[in-house]
Amino acid sequence: MSILSSSVSITRYQVLGQLVDPLMDTLTRLLTQNAIVEIDDEDVDQSAGWTSFEDPFTPDFTGSAFVMGSQFIFSFRMDKKAIPLKVVNKRFRQQITKLLKESGKEFLSRNEKKQIKEDVIRELSLRIPATPNVYDVLWNYEKSSIWFFSTQKSVNEAFEVFFTKSFKLNLVRRFPYTAAMESLTNSEEDILNRLTPSQFME
């Protein structure tokens, strides 16, 4: 989901810790090292990594291309090959028929069938292009805050894991408890820690 879309969903995070100085060099290096790897010609079914905001299909972080105003802006791209099960089954059965005919056997063993299925999936995954999904990231480094343009559970979890792996920094989601802790005094924190739900109706 893009910052420039007409309708967006946003999850907000606090970033714990800081990158090693010099900041721009470190960030450029880590984004480049963890950039999305194309899998269209590989027998791999998914890939995830950082990419450029302005051109998500040509990752390039040179020349501070990810800096806009006081923000860092880049994207998290997840590519996935979705091979329809019916296509796998069709190709699998065709291969079994062909092998039985060529070998003159009446049956194939379980291991042979397993091997055929793996070969079919590998063959198809080389032929089927990956579907890309791009989610923008806005990082206000001074405020240690990140806006991630997705609220999908699986996407957010993948983003959190990949961010921590890439930058060695932890993310804390903003939700009622963490948002409350931003503005409370010590005595209010104690009250929050003992808080129980109100009953508006008996």
Partner: protein, 174 residues
């Protein structure tokens, strides 16, 4: 500070109470929100509200949606002990309108629509467009954050049980 995953589940109810209180304030005393954010902003409930009743063992979810939907069913659900879990809001500042869905469980903002902003015609327009969008995103987030901060201070004060809860009860029953 509590373990984050424990805190997430344990304090969902604070988010639900926040949205229920927000609906009450929008209906009962909308000027209170202007005092909180110190700007002349108009908050109204939009075309969707979701409530959940977990008073009994089973969880019951009630969704009211549609541009002309009456919210009486929502009040009825509140009478039965439900709380608001998601609310669609329209926020206007002069001629500008933001629309968003606020989720109580995690305070996520979804389906956020901004006021009209400049069109991108050339590649050189992108940075300006992003900064303009960012400015508009930040505005609504600052307002929502200020209201939540105000709510949580009240929620943790004696005023909550002494004044606010009785007022909300009265609103639900009227």
């Amino acid at each position: 500070m509590l373990d984050i995953s424990v805190a997430y589940n344990r304090y969902k109810f604070v988010g639900y109470e926040f949205l229920t209180w927000l609906w009450f304030v929008i209906e009962h005393d909308p000027a209170q929100l202007n005092r909180v954010i110190q700007e002349n902003i108009n908050f109204t409930v939009g075309n969707r509200i979701m409530l959940q009743n977990a008073v009994h063992d089973a969880v019951e979810t009630i969704t009211i949606k549609g541009d002309d939907a009456g919210l009486e069913e929502g009040i009825l659900a509140l009478k039965k002990g439900a709380l608001v879990t998601e609310i669609h809001l329209r926020v206007t500042e002069e001629e500008n309108e933001w629309q968003l869905t606020l989720k109580g469980e995690n305070l996520n903002i979804s389906n956020l629509k901004l006021p009209e902003s400049g069109q991108i015609e050339t590649k050189d327009d992108v940075e300006g467009a992003v900064l303009e969008k960012f400015f508009l995103y930040e505005k609504i987030m600052v307002w929502v954050d200020a209201i939540y901060c105000y709510f949580i201070k009240i929620r943790l004060s004696p005023e909550w049980n002494d004044v606010v809860v009785p007022q909300i009860k009265k609103w639900i029953l009227q």
